[in-house]
């Protein structure tokens, strides 16, 4: 039998249903792979007992003929998801020892569908970062390397552990979350597929909040079909999340025909950035050609407020985060600082938060507090909200002109070296999100599809942005792009 860990979700599903493999076998293969992949630091809490228990139950369900698509599929879960009884720390020291007594809606749906949890995956602390270097568990490492250069590369962030685990076959699929690009950028850096659905498609209940108006969960998978299958299981209306949309979920996989004849694809001129590597430009042009060859109509479009997106994002996201993270105060759960005699409640707050939050989180909490404070609110937060409205309108306008999807690069570069950005201005790191944040600000679905390798042998991704609630259509376009690109490379195992 082939290496079970290399299986895709769709293949495994069919093999499980056919009785060619059991979930326990798949799970054990993944657990073995995880044991051998410590160097990637993808998993931060392993849950082999839970995994085997779930796998056994899944096998029984499959045997009984009750096998939803995800039944028996071993998955990794981003540490941002609260999982009952299992450490859920958002990769932060401040949630030290926190084991929720509840299960997030997304993981509940996955487990109800029979999915198996292998463990919790590394990420940037509170999903704030683009390189996985802000994690309290230390950085996750990209399984890809530049040719024969053995320097470690970032898997991207914040869902870096998820990306590394999927790319290195340490699970069949993983959950991610995306606030400004945290699914799509790491997917691009590791040669996998990641989709951020429309805001409101997946319930946020039980996912540690970063920026509530931007956060969305989504799958990170080995191909587009898997993304359709896993997204199907993750999304749907949840009355426990007021921002969750009460809309039917179509059968995404059934919509993957690969036929995009007559579709109109927009190429936004504002996404040509000064100083963007030529390889990215080339890849983008190649993507355009591939879609045209598949029968789509390509049009140049304008999204005029794009250049304001990144600054607006870095006002809105920290503003919400500063409020969302106020609950980590050392009073009820997680880390609590030890106080000296005579110290009071303010000392408890200051010391707990200084010890518990890493520098990037502290920076964003401070920025967020500042932009919401009296006298600055209008200049920053309110202005950013106005920009957000304009960005949303940019997209609405092009969709109204008949554009079905928009093609852009996923990232401005391939994966960079871990530590490379250490001394850089934090804004340099924020530039990683330049092509992805607009999608979060507008609440749209966006998918990153691997489309080629750069000269150093690193994967590069293209992003497709779709109309709200039309993930099925978007995934079908991504499927056409995937077929045309024919990306099948895997990282050479070194770990």
């Amino acid at each position: 039998m082939t290496d079970l860990t290399k299986m895709k979700v769709a293949e495994a599903r069919d093999a499980l249903r056919a009785g060619d493999v059991t979930s326990v076998e798949l799970t054990e293969a993944c657990l073995d792979a995880i044991e051998g992949a410590g160097a990637l630091n993808a998993y931060v809490h392993k849950t082999p007992e839970i995994a085997l228990e779930q796998a056994t139950a899944a096998d029984a369900r499959i045997k009984a003929g009750d096998a939803p698509a995800m039944c028996g599929i071993p998955m990794g879960i981003k540490d941002l998801f609260c999982t009952r009884g299992v450490a859920s720390q958002a990769a932060s020291r401040i949630l030290e020892g926190f084991r929720p007594e509840y299960e997030s809606t997304v993981t509940t749906q996955l487990f109800d569908a029979g999915a198996v949890m292998l463990g919790k995956l590394n990420m940037d602390e509170f999903a704030m970062g683009s390189s996985n270097e802000t994690s309290c568990y230390g950085k996750a490492v990209n399984p890809w390397r530049r040719g024969n250069d053995d320097s470690q590369l970032t898997p991207g962030g914040s869902s870096g552990g998820s990306a590394a685990a999927v790319a290195a076959d340490l699970c069949l699929a993983a959950t991610g979350t995306d606030t400004g690009g945290s699914i799509r950028q790491p997917a691009a850096f590791t040669g996998i597929t990641g989709i951020k659905p429309t805001y409101g498609r997946c319930s946020r209940w039980g996912i540690v909040a970063f920026a509530s108006s931007l956060d969305q969960a989504g799958p990170m998978t080995k191909d587009v079909r898997d993304a359709a299958i896993v997204l199907q299981a993750m999304c749907g209306h949840d009355p426990k999340d007021s921002t969750s949309a009460n809309l039917p979920v179509p059968d995404f996989e059934a919509m993957l025909t690969g036929d995009i004849k007559g579709k109109t694809i927009g190429i936004p001129r504002e996404y040509h950035m000064d100083g963007m590597p030529e390889e990215i430009e080339t890849l983008w042009a190649k993507g355009r050609e591939m879609l045209a060859e598949a029968g789509a109509k390509i049009v140049d479009i304008s999204l005029p407020h794009t250049k304001y997106a990144l600054p607006a994002y870095y006002v809105i996201a920290p503003a919400e985060a500063s409020s969302n993270l106020a609950r980590y105060d050392g009073v009820r759960y997680g880390h609590r600082a030890t106080l000296a005699a005579g110290e009071g409640i303010n000392d408890l707050y200051e010391k707990t938060r200084a010890e518990g939050f890493g520098p990037e989180v502290q920076r964003r909490v401070m920025v967020g507090t500042y932009v919401l404070s009296a006298g600055f609110y209008d200049a920053y937060y309110n202005r950013a909200r106005k920009v957000r409205t304009l960005i949303k309108k940019d997209f609405e306008d092009v969709f109204a002109q008949g554009v079905d999807a928009i093609l852009t690069p996923a990232t401005p570069s391939a994966a960079f070296g871990l530590g490379e950005m250490q001394d850089a201005d934090p804004v340099q790191m924020y530039l990683n999100d330049v092509f992805t944040v607009t999608v979060n600000l507008a609440g749209l679905p966006g998918v990153s599809v691997p489309a080629g390798l750069d000269k150093q042998g690193l994967p590069l991704g293209l992003q497709l942005i779709g109309r709200p609630w039309e993930e099925g259509d978007l995934l079908n376009t991504a499927y056409a792009l995937e077929r045309a690109a024919g990306f099948a490379e895997k990282p050479a195992k070194w770990w």
Partner: protein
């Protein structure tokens, strides 16, 4: 809708050492929404539960937990708005008010700063019959209550009880239309009355279910009128806010103290610092809690976990159609339909249960005025003596109506009626039956009364002579007759017969 006409009261004038001063008061009343569950969670709101037993995950701000609006609390706020004749905003929104405190687990309170659910309304604050202050309501918004910090259980530790955390409050904000301490207390009392009529807040001030922040400033006479003309606050003095008052008496005392404090500062040439103050009822004074400089920067912003709250006019109309008759209307109707004085109507409508009791008595007795006298003077008086409220009355409306009917039909005298009431109150029973069984019926047989009068006259010739000189002494004979008949003689008949016989 009929309304009673009224004139505004004169503003309270406080004489300082140098000048006369007037008060300007605005209030923010926090009323706990009467609801089984909290504003954004299913946890119970029951008072007096074990600490930290009524706490849902979202109340404790566990990671990833999200608020979901309790529709019933919204309905209650709308009902309150309608009861205060206020405009209902079909679209409102929730904002976060950020500050750190251990009894505020989220680190923010979910409130409605920018878009409250209820807009402008009004309250007629009755001071005395024909005198009332119309207080404008600026807005009502819904928000979460905080928990309780307990600092006196341990020398080194503070404790937190989250049972109250997330309970729905309505903050009812008035315009600065209140002009004295008595008016302030009367305003809270009227608001409480309306909320209780509506069933949207139980008004229990002791449990903190109704509490008020009082904004007080002083100005020289004439300034307030300038403000009224222009709505320009610069004509008014700088205000101080006295926080969290939960007694009518303390509200009055605190305003009184605060006004005098401000006047003394101003007359000494000083100026008032805008600040938040606390009233210490033991010392009878207010003290500074935090200055304007120390005031929190709450960093309000729209809560991204909640969509704007949109309600439909048809739903509001349904709630409006189900509103009970409110105190002002009920009072006006009592005056009109039963011919009661405004004062009596006020007393009867103070509590909706009292008014309902009275209406039953009036209907069954067929005499509203007499029924009102008996409900107010006898029943309320007796209940108050026992420390009971109307729901604990041992006398039912039917029983009291029975007594009133016996009086009305001249079957018993007023004096006997009081004895009868006492019997019904303590022993129970059907009043008519008691009167029959115990021979309490009034003697209206003039023959019998005449015999009694004749006997008294015959036995007291000297008194008769005096009474003939001075007719006022006739009362002595009436008294003797009543005594002789055991109080059962009809006093009217006795009076007439005595007068006639003495004149013979």
């Amino acid at each position: 809708m009929l309304d009673l006409s009224f004139e505004p009261p004169k503003p309270k004038v406080i004489a300082g050492a140098k000048y006369d001063w007037e008060l300007v008061i605005g209030m923010e009343v926090h009323a706990q929404v009467a609801s089984e569950a909290k504003l954004f969670s299913g946890a119970s709101t029951k008072f007096g539960a074990e600490p930290n037993s009524n706490v849902a995950f979202v109340d404790a701000a566990m990671p990833g937990m999200l608020p979901v609006i309790n529709e019933y609390c919204v309905e209650q706020a709308v009902r309150t708005g309608l009861g205060l004749k206020a405009e209902i905003n079909l679209k409102s929104a929730f904002d976060r008010k950020n500050y750190f405190y251990p009894d505020l687990p989220q680190g923010y309170q979910i409130s409605q700063l920018y878009h409250p659910i209820v807009g402008e309304g009004e309250v007629i604050v009755d001071m005395e019959p024909g005198i009332a202050r119309l207080v404008r309501i600026e807005r009502i918004h819904i928000e979460q209550d905080a928990g309780k910090s307990i600092h006196d259980m341990d020398p080194n530790m503070s404790f937190v009880d989250l049972n109250r955390t997330g309970v729905a409050l309505m903050e009812i904000v008035s315009r600065p239309d209140i002009r004295g301490p008595e008016e302030a207390a009367a305003y809270v009392s009227k608001l409480r009355q309306i909320l209780r009529y509506l069933g949207t807040c139980d008004g229990n001030m002791q449990n903190g279910n109704l509490r008020a922040d009082v904004n007080v400033s002083v100005c020289r006479p004439g300034q307030y009128e300038k403000y009224q003309e222009t709505q320009d606050f610069s004509h008014l003095g700088t205000r101080c806010e006295i926080k969290n008052m939960n007694s009518m008496r303390f509200i009055q005392q605190a305003i009184d103290y605060e006004a005098k404090r401000q006047i003394a500062i101003l007359e000494a040439g000083g100026s008032i610092d805008q600040e938040t103050r606390l009233y210490d009822p033991d010392k009878g004074e207010t003290r500074s809690m935090r200055s304007k400089e120390e005031a929190h920067d709450y960093r309000y912003f729209p809560d991204p976990d909640l969509l704007p709250l949109e309600i439909e006019q048809a739903w509001v109309d349904d709630i409006a159609a189900s509103l009970p008759e409110l105190p002002d209307e009920k009072k006006a109707r009592f005056v009109k339909d039963f011919g009661l004085s405004e004062y009596d109507a006020s007393v009867l409508t103070a509590e909706v249960a009292n008014a309902a009791f009275f209406e039953k008595v009036a209907a069954e007795a067929g005499d509203g005025k007499l029924a009102a006298n008996w409900v107010i003077n006898e029943l309320f008086g007796r209940l108050k003596k026992e420390g009971h409220d109307i729901t604990e009355s041992p006398v039912s409306p039917a029983q009291l109506a029975g007594i009133v009917r016996l009086i009305k039909s001249d079957a018993i005298s007023g004096k006997i009626a009081k004895d009868l009431f006492e019997i019904v109150y303590t022993e129970g029973g059907d009043p008519e039956q008691i009167v029959d069984e115990r021979g309490m019926k009034q003697v209206t047989d003039t023959g019998a009364i005449e015999t009694a009068v004749d006997e008294i006259i015959a036995a007291n010739p000297a008194q008769v002579e005096k009474a003939k000189q001075n007719p006022k002494l006739a009362g002595w004979f009436v008294g003797q007759v009543m005594k002789a008949t055991g109080g059962k003689a009809n006093p009217k008949a006795v009076n007439e017969i005595v007068a006639k016989k003495l004149a013979e």
